[in-house]
Symmetry: D2
Subunit: 141 residues, 4 copies
């Protein structure tokens, strides 16, 4: 049975806008922050050097559906599951809830890449030890 990773985020004042609610783009920051907390919980790091190469996870796609507004100091529950693991990429979903009610649900597809300063990132297969750590969180189809 698949696991999910759960954590919480408090909505910061600076993430609100003049409509009095959390700005939609801030959800993408919160999603990444939760993803990175998840990676750290597995003993992984956000940005690492492997065999002398800088490795990072540029996104190829990100989306979010917004169900109800979040407000300053709302405590959001965030639940992460993995929807798909490919050769070089993985897709996760994060559901944000407040007191059990859906607030937003987002998805990000990230690609494992070598990073260079002077040319585009180059995708590479997800290392075997990373795959082994991610697989328990793969949601049943």
């Amino acid at each position: 049975m698949s696991q999910r990773f759960s954590t919480q985020r408090l909505v910061e004042f600076s993430d609100t806008d003049m409509a009095g609610i959390m700005h939609f783009a801030s959800f993408f920051h919160y999603m990444e922050s939760v993803e990175h907390e998840f990676l750290r919980s597995l003993g992984l790091s956000v940005y690492s050097k492997i065999d002398g190469h800088e490795i990072s996870f540029p996104r190829v796609a990100a989306k979010c559906d917004f169900a109800s507004p979040a407000r300053c100091e709302d405590l959001l529950d965030a639940h992460l599951v993995i929807l798909r693991i490919g050769t070089t990429s993985w897709t996760y979903r994060i559901d944000f809830e407040r007191e059990g009610q859906p607030v937003a649900s987002g998805q990000v597809t990230a690609v494992c890449c070598r990073i260079f300063r002077d040319r585009p990132p180059e995708s590479m297969p997800l290392p075997q030890e990373v795959l082994a750590l991610l697989e328990p969180f793969l949601a049943a189809p």
Copy 2:
């Protein structure tokens, strides 16, 4: 034949991250900034009072696909077309390009809402005069 709205954005240093490229979440900020420039070009305002009500356009969905990284001081062309106009909401797409090459393509669905301080936003039909201004930018199916 449908029109599109075009403008440009220069990638700011503070929108880059340690991978040396523009952070994915910043594209959502740029999309909103372009949307608002589009609205102003029509004589509309981002946030207005109509009949004493505060009106804004909370997003119900946002997504972006990333084709190639953008870097600091890249000059991006942004082209906006409208994909759908509903009773209370509209969906637009913005394509970001650099020298004719695709960089990112995003979509946002925004709902016309009355904003209250003490309860959730309440959707309302897009005013007739707004509809008339948006329709020329509706992409042919």
Copy 3:
């Protein structure tokens, strides 16, 4: 003897820039986030209604000196003390450290204000119950 409020912040990937270090402007976000955590620890709220008025704390001055760069996933200790309490405003200092070494030291002066939608904020005296809560954190001169 005066108290100080201490907490921690982990440097997020999205707060780094292409120089590989935490962007200077992000420290102001972290400072505000720590201030608000401090206010909550006193039972206060960031943004409240008093006698039907919206009350907030616009800043009249903010500054930060940067001693050494912070990097992604650095765990920063943050220590807040109050430097001055005036009639309508208060000034606090936050020192950020990593493993005992100074990273940055910032100050913010905030003014207690009634917030209106259609005209500038109006300063008002800090309520007596707020003063009583802040005073223990006033640093000895």
Copy 4:
């Protein structure tokens, strides 16, 4: 007689907060954006390679005084002058105004540094050709 560099910025919706005004930390982003536009106007670049080294301008100090709130879609005039040019650093001031009225006035001190991935930035003297370009903007004492 000294020159000043002038440009404009329109306040974006996403830079407002729930108090209905531009968030104070956003002024630091606007300041950097204006600085970089100034550097480009001199033919300089934000982030460059010199003799194979990555060069950037980490900040050692930044501050801003806020005179009156800015609101969404306010058009701000920004005027930059240089207050001091040292061996490795320079300090500039930017005044933001709206229709001639002061909104905010900030200062940043930036140090010319070589950037490394695995150790702290290392300061270096401002190159002679950069000095020559900056000096006309040095305010009379």
